[in-house]
Assembly symmetry: C2
């Protein structure tokens, strides 16, 4: 077993999973990977199945794990931008691979992804 931050992990994969496991995390990361800096509501509107509460929660956890960060771009009115940190960027191969794999899977099930490719707002 691997000991880290008072928890135990079975293997390195388990360590990685502890950062990006949990609903929505990978989706949020790969969204930021695709679209760069985004405000809260931009992310929300493009992940229409996530509630605001959930999204906030996941964003905060990702920040705690240093995979994303936010900058306050305007104080009044309060406006922010979320973006990938260096650590978050180091996971890019993962986002790319999972996207490609998903597209292949869709192809094999005769769904043409390109025709649907868009943002969801």
């Amino acid at each position: 077993m691997i000991e880290l931050h008072e928890k135990t992990y079975v293997c390195p994969v388990d360590v990685t999973l502890s950062m990006i496991g949990g609903k929505w995390k990978i989706l949020i990361l790969s969204h930021l990977h695709q679209f760069g800096r985004r405000g809260f509501s931009e992310i929300r509107d493009n992940l229409p199945k996530v509630s605001e509460k959930m999204l906030m929660q996941q964003l905060n956890e990702l920040r705690r794990n240093d995979l994303i960060d936010k900058k306050i771009v305007l104080l009044k009115p309060y406006r922010v931008e979320y973006f990938l940190t260096e650590s978050g960027k180091s996971l890019k191969p993962l986002y790319s691979f999972m996207s490609t794999w998903g597209i292949d899977y869709l192809k094999q099930h005769n769904i043409d992804y390109l025709k649907d490719q868009q943002l969801y707002k």
Copy 2:
């Protein structure tokens, strides 16, 4: 949105996640990736945090998604082997990447993974 099997997905990554999301799935897959064909109790003993019930559940879901399969190697006494299907093998880059990333993360936190590398039984 992408429609598939009566569900909707936000993007291809979401499609991929629907197959391998959920606790333990990636861990099980990457275990089979590393060690090849394994009996039920071999997997169980090497993922000591998973209960038998959970493990069975996840194995069945992975089989339904055609990422793993099992062969009955002996009827009496009943012995089986679980292993990656072609589809499961096509995710190998993911297992490798997540393992490497985890090892790097540990290195950055001054934990030498090699000294712990072993099976957990």
